[in-house]
């Protein structure tokens, strides 16, 4: 049995290259010897997944690229060991489904690289102005609504663009996202987002995509627009190449804060850009070599393992039912389920990574885990009747946290590691989550479409623009005291009804939880029968609320809940989470312009 699984793992695709370990070794050495400049080194290290650490040049963050979010048990174990030896003993899952190792001593980077390459992983192009990690819905292949499994396409796109000369020096980073279906889609916040579609052509069912172009979150966010109703499968690659070529040619390389493709698309107007893409695509089709094609390797499918039998565990352990309700999702393959493993703002210890790799080997038929865009993990193809045992195993290692949408709070790494951060959104995300779980909010179906996401600055790594309740860090003067605070947004969402949040108020960091609880309170008073929290927010934003009619009325309530006592009375209300000292803003140059 074990042997068998190891064989499965040895077939794992290798994204890494041994010679890149040598390059990293050489460049770090040259940099330390002062033979290359900061700027020269920055470009190289970003291309190889080394991101600067907050206000400390001796350390680096190493971002491991995880195409389509797929990680094998052996890879998890290796990440565990590397995190203990060279990082902080925990690893971090990012909203773009990467794994990050923080506070790595710069000179250890070659050893980390070597350890990653050995198990097939790479850090190549996980940072820098190139095609970043190709993300993919964690439900791709198991989603009830999907037309087909996009995983092989996501991996093929990742394979095609990795180290490809056409995207080594783009004006700015470039993000692909593959959705499983409209409902679970994050496609419209990517540069190119792809949602599977099928069409009957001449009596044959043809696979294709809805291609969305020009989206992205940041200080100015845009939702991607649909290129055409249906892009057949064989047009996927030419379309992607065309978009990248246009961006490379026309994108802004001067204005640091406006060089993502979404600005190009927005400034030009989508209709014009669309025209250019279609034209460029015909040129690509006419001129590209027949050898240029996607290498699509279909994933192995699995048969349902037995007929419907209602799953009814006898005398389940404490907490099981609550966990089952929030964490277990039925797959389109009858008898199999996907188990969500929420992490506290994406953080997981080395010990948990090892335990998870054992659990994955034991319970997952497909034998790997996937990372999720909400900083969590999922184990798929679990036989439902084994859930009680699996729950126990997860609980033993602290990985059976309840996974409702509202309590899976996202928080970027912010002041724990990032140069750009103003506030400690990471810690605040953890605090919000544990408070809401403590109150049992995860059990209330009214919040099943509600999300809370935080970023420590306007750059939106925490994806606050697509949260029902979003926050991004700021520094404001309250009662003449500089105070860590958040701009609060309401009404953002991904999926079919994709929309960006509306900024409604500023809230001091230490009042964020109070404001969230207040909103929940008001909702419970104001809702219509059967109306969920997210729908109520939309109704208020549309000015159609009941007692609290519109956003202005709601803002008054929020501002009231956000008010601080004087700094003399309660000085700790003016400090940030994780700090005892007076709040100061310290930021350094970001890595954007490298």
């Amino acid at each position: 049995m074990l042997k068998n699984l190891e064989d499965k793992e040895s077939n794992v695709e290798s994204w890494g290259l041994p010679e890149e370990v040598r390059n990293v070794d050489e460049m770090v050495r040259l940099y330390r010897e002062g033979k290359i400049t900061d700027d020269e080194f920055r470009r190289f290290r970003l291309q190889h997944g080394m991101y600067g650490s907050r206000l400390n040049k001796d350390y680096t963050m190493i971002r491991i690229k995880v195409p389509a979010g797929i990680l094998t048990p052996r890879q998890l174990e290796r990440i565990a060991k590397l995190s203990e030896d060279y990082s902080i003993g925990s690893a971090h899952v990012s909203t773009r489904q990467n794994i990050q190792l923080h506070w790595v001593y710069l000179d250890d980077a070659p050893m980390v690289e070597a350890g990653l390459v050995e198990v097939g992983l790479t850090t190549r192009e996980s940072c820098g102005n190139t095609v970043r990690n190709v993300t993919c819905s964690p439900f791709a292949g198991v989603c009830m609504n999907e037309h087909f499994d996009v995983t092989p396409y996501a991996k093929a796109i990742a394979r095609f663009f990795l180290r490809n000369p056409i995207c080594q020096n783009l004006p700015r980073k470039f993000k692909f996202n593959f959705a499983c279906c409209d409902e679970h889609s994050y496609a419209r916040i990517a540069d190119v987002g792809l949602v599977p579609a099928v069409k009957v052509i001449d009596g044959n069912v043809v696979r294709g995509f809805k291609v969305y172009i020009g989206g992205g979150l940041g200080p100015a966010s845009y939702l991607a627009e649909l290129l055409e109703e249906f892009t057949p499968e064989d047009m996927l690659l030419p379309t992607c190449i065309a978009v990248i070529r246009l961006f490379d040619r026309l994108g802004d390389r001067e204005k640091v804060h406006r060089n993502r493709m979404r600005y190009l698309v927005h400034d030009m107007g989508f209709a014009k850009f669309r025209e250019l893409v279609l034209k460029e695509r015909s040129i690509v089709n006419l001129t590209k070599s027949v050898l240029v094609k996607l290498d699509i390797r279909e994933s192995k499918g699995y048969e349902p393992y037995r007929d419907d039998i209602e799953f009814k565990p006898f005398n389940p352990p404490e907490g099981f039912n609550r966990w089952y309700k929030g964490n277990v999702i039925k797959q389109k393959q009858r008898g199999y389920v996907t188990v969500l493993i929420p992490l506290h703002a994406g953080d997981i210890t080395a010990r948990q990574l090892r335990a998870l790799s054992d659990i994955c080997r034991e319970y997952s038929l497909e034998g790997h885990v996937v990372t999720t865009p909400w900083q969590g993990l999922a184990v798929r193809y679990v036989k439902e009747y084994r859930l009680v045992d699996m729950y126990r195993a997860l609980k033993d290692t602290g990985l059976a946290n309840y996974a409702s949408s509202i309590t899976s709070v996202v928080g970027c790494t912010s002041t724990t590691s990032c140069n750009l951060a103003i506030t400690n959104a990471h810690r605040l995300a953890k605090e919000i989550s544990s408070r809401l779980v403590g109150l049992g909010v995860d059990m209330d179906d009214a919040f099943k479409d509600t999300t809370i996401k935080l970023s420590g600055c306007p750059n939106s790594c925490g994806q606050h623009m697509i949260a029902t309740i979003g926050f991004f860090g700021a520094a404001v003067r309250v009662n003449n005291t500089l105070t860590p605070a958040y701009n609060m947004l309401l009404g953002g969402k991904v999926g079919k009804e994709n929309s960006l949040g509306t900024i409604v108020a500023r809230v001091p960091a230490k009042r964020v939880i109070d404001v969230i609880l207040k909103l929940i309170d008001v909702y419970r008073r104001e809702r219509n029968d059967g109306e969920g929290f997210a729908s109520w927010i939309d109704r208020v934003l549309a000015g159609e609320g009941n007692g609290i009619k519109d956003i202005n009325a709601l803002r008054l309530i929020i501002e009231e809940a956000a008010r601080l006592p004087s700094a003399d009375e309660e000085p700790e209300m003016y400090t940030d989470y994780g700090s005892e000292n007076r709040f100061i803003v310290r930021t350094a140059r970001g890595e954007c312009a490298a």
């Binding site: 997981i348 724990t416 994780g578």
Partner: protein
């Protein structure tokens, strides 16, 4: 001058010597008494770490070892020490023996759990070999003059010694100092505070998944990345009593670094004396830990 001696003993070799009824090997189990009493490596004697660190008084320590049948200054058995805590407890005991002047000591290359997992025989129950309590309080019970040994002062560092080194190196900061302080605690603890000038290599970076120490080349790689050279004097410390740093001590010895000292009282003492510390305060890195 310390000669290059064996730092690790392979389980196969140890087991063979046990099977051959070799009297020249003495296995010391430093786990807790009750763990030893349940099961242990055949022929091992019990000497829990807690007993060894109870006193720093040399005669007391000599008696303690005499109690398990090891007369320092007279015997020359191959002593092999093991634990079930990554080799760190074993390392601290082995280092103590070296400090007392006993040189023929090594660490079992694997932990007790691994020994079992590898399928090597174990012995159940407590035997008469656990004789420490009987002998340890009696003076000269074996008729040996226990004070007459050569304590090896070259492998220990006191806080005064470290102070003198950092005072020197702070003044010369930027120039190459040959004495280097090595903090082997985990990264976040190190970032938070450490003895001024200390370099950080978390102890786990020397320890392998299934052996108490990694291969030489891997240990050398990380030492190289910290610019710690074979001729440097290296002083290792950890958070409490020199166990984890004891393991790092043997990591350095394994790769042939000969001038290594253990600050056995480690940060616990340094902090209690309110001696200077430095740290990095510009980030909330603690909040990244999932612990």
């Amino acid at each position: 001058m310390i000669l290059a001696r064996q730092v690790l003993s392979e389980p196969e070799e140890v087991y063979k010597r046990i099977k051959d009824r070799d009297d020249d090997i003495l296995l010391i189990d430093v786990r807790r008494n009750e763990e030893y009493a349940r099961e242990h490596v055949p022929n091992a004697v019990s000497l829990p770490l807690a007993k060894v660190i109870e006193s720093t008084n040399v005669p007391t320590l000599l008696e303690l070892f005499a109690g398990i049948g090891l007369v320092i200054g007279k015997d020359n058995k191959s002593v092999v020490v093991y634990d079930d805590t990554f080799g760190a407890l074993a390392a601290r005991v082995a280092w103590t023996l070296e400090y007392l002047g006993y040189e023929n000591v090594s660490l079992l290359a694997v932990t007790y759990s691994k020994w079992k997992e590898m399928g090597f025989e174990v012995e159940y129950g407590s035997k008469s070999r656990v004789s420490t309590s009987k002998v340890s309080n009696k003076n000269n019970s074996l008729g040996v003059t226990v004070t007459n040994t050569n304590v090896n002062k070259n492998i220990i560092a006191s806080y005064e010694y470290i102070k003198s080194i950092i005072d020197g190196s702070i003044m010369n900061r930027g120039s190459d100092t040959t004495a280097k302080l090595l903090d082997v605690r985990e990264r976040l603890n190190y970032l938070d505070h450490h003895i001024p000038t200390a370099i950080n290599i978390p102890w786990k970076a020397f320890s392998a998944e299934d052996r108490v120490l990694k291969d030489k080349t891997e240990i050398l790689d990380i030492l190289k990345s910290r610019r710690i050279e074979p001729n440097d004097e290296v002083i290792v410390y950890c958070g409490s009593v020199g166990t984890l740093s004891g393991l790092s001590y043997y990591g350095l010895r394994l790769v042939g670094y000969s001038n290594v000292r253990l600050y056995s009282n480690s940060l616990k003492e340094w902090r209690s004396l309110k001696l200077p510390l430095e740290g990095f305060k510009d980030a909330h890195y603690w909040d990244l830990s999932a612990e």
